[in-house]
């Protein structure tokens, strides 16, 4: 249960993603790309393109993405959901796409004491494990996919 372990399937997927990144981008830097905060949101996509909500849903459910350690949501296929944070049902009603993007990038913008990790930040952290140092938790593409999915959570 804790710490979350990657299943064989997610490890295989990670290897696949890693391989395709090397293939597609060669020498791309791993750190976050710059973004612009306007008001309480980030209006522009981090990748310049809209995300894929289907991939976003799968990411939110993946243990290695960590969302459902704390959150629950409309995910009837799994009982491994947390209750440290609000249910994600209806998140698309409560928040704009721009706000959701900033929430994922840096949740401490909304609540400096929050326990929700900043998913697109790689500095100002203490004793980060060797395998994770210098990298944000999620890539820009993954953030956009998850934002696209959260925006569909409307009731």
């Amino acid at each position: 249960m804790w710490p979350p372990r990657s299943s064989r399937r997610t490890r295989a997927a990670a290897a696949l993603i890693a391989a395709s990144l090397v293939f597609a981008t060669g020498a791309q830097a791993e750190g976050p790309v710059p973004y612009r905060i306007a008001g309480d949101g980030i209006p522009e996509s981090l990748t310049g393109a809209p995300g894929d909500a289907t991939r976003g849903r799968a990411l939110v459910l993946a243990r290695t993405t960590t969302c459902i350690l704390c959150h629950s949501g409309p995910f009837p296929e799994t009982r491994f959901q947390g209750d440290l944070a609000p249910d994600l049902t209806g998140a698309g009603n409560r928040w704009s796409v721009s706000q959701l993007r900033l929430r994922l990038v840096d949740a401490s913008h909304f609540n400096p004491e929050t326990i929700m990790p900043s998913y697109y930040r790689a500095d100002g952290l203490v004793r980060v494990g060797r395998n994770f140092a210098g990298k944000p938790i999620l890539s820009a593409t993954e953030i956009e996919d998850i934002v696209a999915f959260l925006a569909t959570l409307r009731d």
């Binding site: 249960m1 804790w2 710490p3 979350p4 243990r63 960590t66 459902i68 350690l69 704390c70 009982r79 491994f80 959901q81 947390g82 209750d83 440290l84 326990i115 990790p117 900043s118 952290l125 203490v126 004793r127 980060v128 494990g129 060797r130 395998n131 994770f132 990298k135 938790i137």
Partner: protein, 259 residues
Amino acid sequence: MSFWRAIALAALCAAAPALLAGEIPPEARRSGYSFMGPDTRAMQDDDTSNPGMLFVLDGEALWTKKAGSADKACADCHGDARSSMKGVAARYPAFDKSLGHPVTLDQRINLCRADHQQATPLPYESRDLLALSAFVAHQSRGFAITAGDDPQLKPFVAQGRDLFMRREGQLNLACTNCHDDNFDKRLAGAPITQAQPTGYPLYRLEWQTLGSLERRLRSCMTGVRAQAYDYGSPELVTLELYLMSRARGLPMETPAVRP
């Protein structure tokens, strides 16, 4: 300056720490046992079904086995553990005068191996060290925890508390965020407890074996994607000491069973 020396210097100006906001008041402290289901409780309660008792029996055999170039057994100096080791584990980690800093029960056992048996230290998490430590700590089962009462330990307890409160790792979470602020809630469906170290070494069903408190702390650190401290490092020892002092008054359960 070494970690231990820095703490010793800080001691000169350290005052007794009061309860911080968010810390659990003494009367609300609960062992991980109270968070478990009836099956796991029953397994711990019955010595014939508690898998940790096999390690205790191994430890009992090692207690009387001669070792090292001194060719001495623990029993040659300490006699019957049932009386000589009674209540000892409930006050560990304890201050070691010659070293000038606290040592854990595992470290104390290895000091005896080195100094008194002239034998090589047992590796952390090895079956023999876990067995000896389980056997010694079992002699404290039911004893109230008093670790940290020694005034010389104050600055080390404070240091452990700082580490407990500090956010770390890629997920940027502190121990206190889960174990003070969110116990009784569920992390991906699994109950979060208060992290009371009452039963170590203990049998975790998930590990399928006995494990030390340090193993548990390292796995929580890995969980938040932090670089875990090394076994026996001053940081893990002070964290362990803080946890034990935070559990003051709770009864020892060694060998406990956890899911």
